[in-house]
């Protein structure tokens, strides 16, 4: 059959895609990203390579800078953990319970996404300053201490956890819970053994988003932190300080450390996420 007619083997057909615009859109996308993101970021790497190793090392290990890493990392971590606990609880309450004003409160959760960070910063400072609405009732100082930074970062990160956990909770059918109850589990057991495992991937995602946002956050923190060297200076502020002194090399070196650190954290969290979701996918 196939011998009757010599077919032009491997006749190359002109590439026609059914939907139009592939070349145009991908070309524009790559060009836009290159100019706006890749070129500037690679300049950062290029500038870093202009530094001698000893200069670079002395900048990034300067005690004041090292203290800022600790403050940034520590406060971001604590704030993310607070957000995981309260964010999950709020998502649960918003999905499962009915109470007056729920719609408004649900909408309000997005406030940190929509409110400029500087505005959040001055508002939180006003609240937690020693003479502020909340500050005056507290036996310890919040504003101008690491606690204040944690407050600001908790504010910034809250919607990330709520908005990743909420849709997952909404989509969990009642069946698994009913099965658990019919097998004799009490409510607490059902939550810890049936529901919570289902929420873990979303919680990890929410944690990662809140944490990485908190690491880089600047606007809301600078007002409430007090910016005391060795105590309440965050790393983005160190970059800012170097820039104000026209120390571009120093700013670049610290920026590269931050950038690498956030990529490593993202990579680690994605790996954990992958391991966890692999365990739970049926």
């Amino acid at each position: 059959m196939t011998l009757t007619q010599p077919v032009q083997k491997k006749q190359k057909h002109k590439k026609i895609t059914v939907l139009p615009g592939f070349k145009l859109t991908i070309g524009y996308t790559i060009l836009y990203i290159s100019i706006l993101i890749l070129l500037p970021l690679s300049t950062l790497v290029w500038n870093t390579m202009q530094l001698s190793w000893s200069d670079f090392w002395s900048v990034i290990t300067d005690p004041r800078v090292v203290a800022s890493y600790k403050v940034t990392f520590g406060t971001a971590l604590i704030a993310a953990v607070i957000n995981v606990i309260f964010g999950t609880m709020i998502a649960w309450v918003l999905v499962r319970y009915h109470f007056f004003g729920k719609k408004v409160i649900d909408g309000l959760v997005d406030l940190p996404f929509a409110l400029p960070t500087a505005v959040a910063g001055i508002a939180l400072t006003a609240l937690y300053a020693p003479n502020g609405w909340i500050g005056q009732f507290l036996p310890f100082q919040v504003a101008f201490t690491p606690l204040g930074i944690i407050v600001a970062l908790t504010f910034i990160g809250l919607p990330f956890v709520v908005r990743t956990v909420q849709p997952v909770l909404e989509n969990i059918g009642a069946e698994a819970e009913e099965a658990s109850a019919s097998l004799g589990a009490n409510r607490f057991q059902t939550f810890t053994k049936v529901l919570f495992p289902e929420l873990i991937p979303a919680i990890i995602t929410g944690f990662t988003l809140a944490f990485s946002r908190a690491l880089g956050e600047y606007g809301s923190v600078v007002f409430i932190a007090g910016n005391m060297p060795m105590k309440t200076e965050i790393t983005p502020l160190m970059i800012m300080t170097k820039l104000e002194q026209y120390d571009y090399a120093g700013a670049t070196a610290i920026a590269i450390v931050m950038l690498v650190a956030s990529f490593v954290i993202l990579f680690v969290m994605n790996t954990i996420q992958w391991l966890v979701s692999r365990k739970y996918t049926v």
Binding site: T2, V7, K9, K10, Q11, H13, K14, K15, I16, T17, V18
Partner: protein
């Protein structure tokens, strides 16, 4: 319009979706592409439509090579598996779409479009549904809108991907009849993809049975059903009883059953399988012929005009299925647990080496 498919190949990565397929389709024919999922039938349909690009081969419409013509210029009507109705447009706008997007020179006037769409909607019995949105329609209604939309551009070829796949049994049957009627009226060359053999047998002029990207058999429904040319086609079109055994001197030996296979005299010892349709299995109370074997009735399913009987062979541990008409069944007065004799009226033997062809 006639369609010629020449040595079409399409590969997705390592997977050969369509592997050297050639078919000639005459103008006005209604063709069914039948096969299990993954057999390449949908890929072939999409290649004909121009929605997928082929790797090798050619597609000809009326002898003209259209392989490199873009889908929008092929003048085909395509009905998608899940209808792909424009969900934000009304039924009317959906049907009118193909006419409205024409370049100004060839675009009909608003009035003409309205007339045409109204006509099509009454044809698909949806004249009062023009203002509805797709989400407000039932599955069968959506299907008809999709068909009307495809017909609105007066295609020379109508391609349907699993047109009734997502509908329930009753609606399917109605729509099948209706598609046949439609086709007779418009007489546009039509190809539809299905994995439902009953649907293909019921509607098509010719059936193309596909498996693993290749064509197994092409022919009119009766021919494909009555004379399958491969075990696959036997298996895929309707139920079948297997008589697994050995070939010896041109005879298939299977338990106590022996049958002469004329076309296979040359073949000496080999494994072989005889294929018998349930309605080709003769049941009798008294052994009338030497080659009949005894079996026990284990279940009688007597609902409808055809009575299905499940049997267990007494000589070997194999189950058989037979189909009788109600009359025959009454005559024989068969009951569960009774012993009877069975004999294939028609049996086709395939030697497993053939399987890999």
């Amino acid at each position: 319009m006639s369609i010629t498919i020449q040595h079409v190949k399409k590969q997705f990565g390592d997977f050969k979706a369509v592997d050297d397929v050639s078919i000639d389709i005459e103008s006005g024919e209604l063709i069914a592409l039948l096969g299990p999922s993954g057999s390449g039938k949908t890929s072939l349909l999409r290649i004909i439509a121009g929605l997928e690009q082929l790797d090798e081969g050619a597609i000809l419409f009326d002898g003209e090579n259209i392989t490199e013509i873009h889908a929008k210029e092929r003048n085909i009507g395509f009905v998608f598996q899940h209808y792909a109705l424009f969900r934000h447009m009304t039924v009317f706008d959906n049907v009118a779409y193909g006419l409205k997007v024409r370049p100004r020179k060839t675009r009909p006037s608003k009035k003409e479009i309205k007339e045409k769409v109204t006509k099509l909607l009454s044809l698909v019995k949806l004249e009062h549904f023009g203002d509805r949105y797709p989400s407000q329609l039932s599955g069968g209604q959506r299907q008809r809108v999709a068909l009307a939309r495809a017909l609105a551009v007066e295609p020379k070829v109508l391609l349907l991907d699993e047109p009734f796949g997502a509908l329930d049994a009753k609606v399917r049957k109605d729509l099948r009849r209706w598609l046949r009627k439609m086709h007779n009226e418009f007489h546009v060359t039509s190809i539809f993809v299905t994995h439902d053999q009953e649907e293909a047998l019921d509607v098509a002029d010719r059936i193309v049975v596909m498996n693993k990207g290749r064509i197994e058999q092409v022919g009119p429904p009766e021919e494909v059903y009555d004379h399958p040319n491969s075990p696959f086609v036997y298996d895929f079109l309707g139920n079948v009883n297997l008589f697994k055994g050995r070939m010896q001197n041109g005879q298939l030996i299977n338990g106590n059953y022996t049958v002469t296979v004329p076309e296979a005299t040359a073949t000496s010892e080999a494994e072989a399988i005889g294929y018998v349709r349930p309605h080709d299995l003769h049941i009798e109370r008294q052994k009338s012929m030497e080659d009949a074997v005894s079996a026990t009735i284990i279940y009688v399913h007597a609902i409808g005009p055809i009575v299905q009987i499940e049997l267990h062979r007494d000589d070997i541990d194999e189950y058989l299925e037979a189909e009788l008409s109600k009359e025959q069944f009454k005559q024989l007065q068969l009951k569960r647990g009774e012993s009877v004799f069975i004999r294939p009226r028609q049996l086709k033997v395939f030697i497993p080496e053939d399987f890999s062809i």
